[in-house]
Subunit: 219 residues, 2 copies
DNA sequence: CGCCGGCTGACACGGAGCTGACGGCGGTGG
DNA sequence: CCACCGCCGTCAGCTCCGTGTCAGCCGGCG
């Protein structure tokens, strides 16, 4: 990803730049808002890392200007400020995420990756399967217009089946997906989970393929 | 503009009210701080004209309280005092501007117009969620028409959830948002905060997503 | 008719979440 | 300087939800 880092602290800036560069990101580093603004207009960055409290201006105002002119580039705010309202103000001003200093470089990388993932594909893939509307981001499934609350296990199961609608998913495969190794299950937990899920969704949505596994009806 | 005038001198109050009303402003006139405070919580004023030295309390303290609870409504202070330090104190307490009595009504109108201009392009976004009306600028939440006073923590929590209504906010994320990092909390403070907030708002507004976090119902 | 794979109601347990009570702390008023 | 009050973190005890287990059932097939 092409990343614009706006940070006036030399040590921190260098550390961040080097760390992200090591992760195969292209990092441009600016220390002043004015220059950052110019760069931002010239280059289509995938992500902006914005330090609040730069000496030459108000970072929040900068962010608001950015959004006001319709720039939707993801912005990750770095801030040393610890006042509650200011952190939230950052998000309100249009930041996508934030990190409170001092932060772990690993955590920074994780957030960067998360932003990258979020903006990689379609922003919010809604799956439509028969009478179901599956919103993976909000973790919500809607049946015939009515939101259906699902428990963690039920959601995991539905997601596993919805990965490839119409494809048969073996029961052991489901076990692997729902029970991350270690704690194996000694009974028909999967069948019970399917039963419970069927009760919440329309029963015919989940098809049983005897001896093989389960399948999500595609229509 | 909707203006709250807080002034105990009948002659002056009437003159100011009539003059501003003649300029197509909607003026509410209160003579006591206590009543003004009530009005301020109930109505989204665009401007407050505050006379210092009212008989029933300290105007500066009133202003400080206003700001302390995050209310950002512009305040124009009217004062007979002409000592520089006191004017500074007014600005420090959070006043946007001041006028020293006696003042010219034309000058008052000019200052009011200036405030109007400054805040023109920024309409106050009211967030409506079920029976709630959330006014972020004034840090006020109104339930069924009745203003509900929230403490700092409660407000921060509500704000964090209201950032993206309907989205799940993880409990750890709430911790990050509400507590200056480093000092982690060693208990169920978040749950307690949610509980307290629920007691003030309608309980069903805040939804629990087991194992994940909380979410603000969108309807 | 017996077996097998799958279904589901009932149950029990663990743990997540809720809340009343308490106390410390800071601010306010006398 | 003291008394009071509101805020809020902590704790303890409780409730309730989610989920694995099990048993009994059904239907299909040889």
């Amino acid at each position: 990803m092409r990343i614009l880092l706006i940070e006036d602290d030399p040590a921190l800036g260098e550390a961040v730049r080097d760390h992200l560069a090591g992760l195969a990101h292209a990092v441009d580093w600016q220390t002043r808002l004015a220059e950052a603004e110019v760069a931002l207009r010239a280059v289509p960055y995938d992500l902006v890392l914005l330090d609040l409290g730069l000496p030459d201006g108000d970072g929040l105002a900068f962010l608001k200007r950015l959004r006001a002119r319709g720039d939707a580039t993801p912005v990750l705010v770095l801030t040393a400020r610890d006042r509650v309202s200011e952190r939230i103000a950052g998000l309100e001003a249009g930041a996508d995420d934030y990190l409170v200093k001092p932060f772990d470089l690993g955590e920074l990388a994780a957030r960067v990756a998360a932003v990258a993932r979020r903006y990689a594909g379609d922003p919010n893939p809604l799956l439509e399967i028969g009478p179901l509307l599956i919103d993976r981001a909000r973790r919500i499934v809607i049946r015939d217009g009515v939101p259906v609350p699902l428990s963690a296990r039920e959601w995991a199961l539905l997601e596993a089946l919805a990965l490839r609608p119409g494809a048969i998913v073996a029961k052991e495969r489901l076990e692997e997906l729902l029970y991350p190794m270690g704690e194996e299950i000694a009974s028909n937990a999967i069948e019970v989970a399917v039963s419970r899920l069927r009760k919440k969704l329309s029963a015919h949505i989940i098809e049983t393929v005897r001896g093989l596994g389960y399948r999500l009806a595609r229509r």
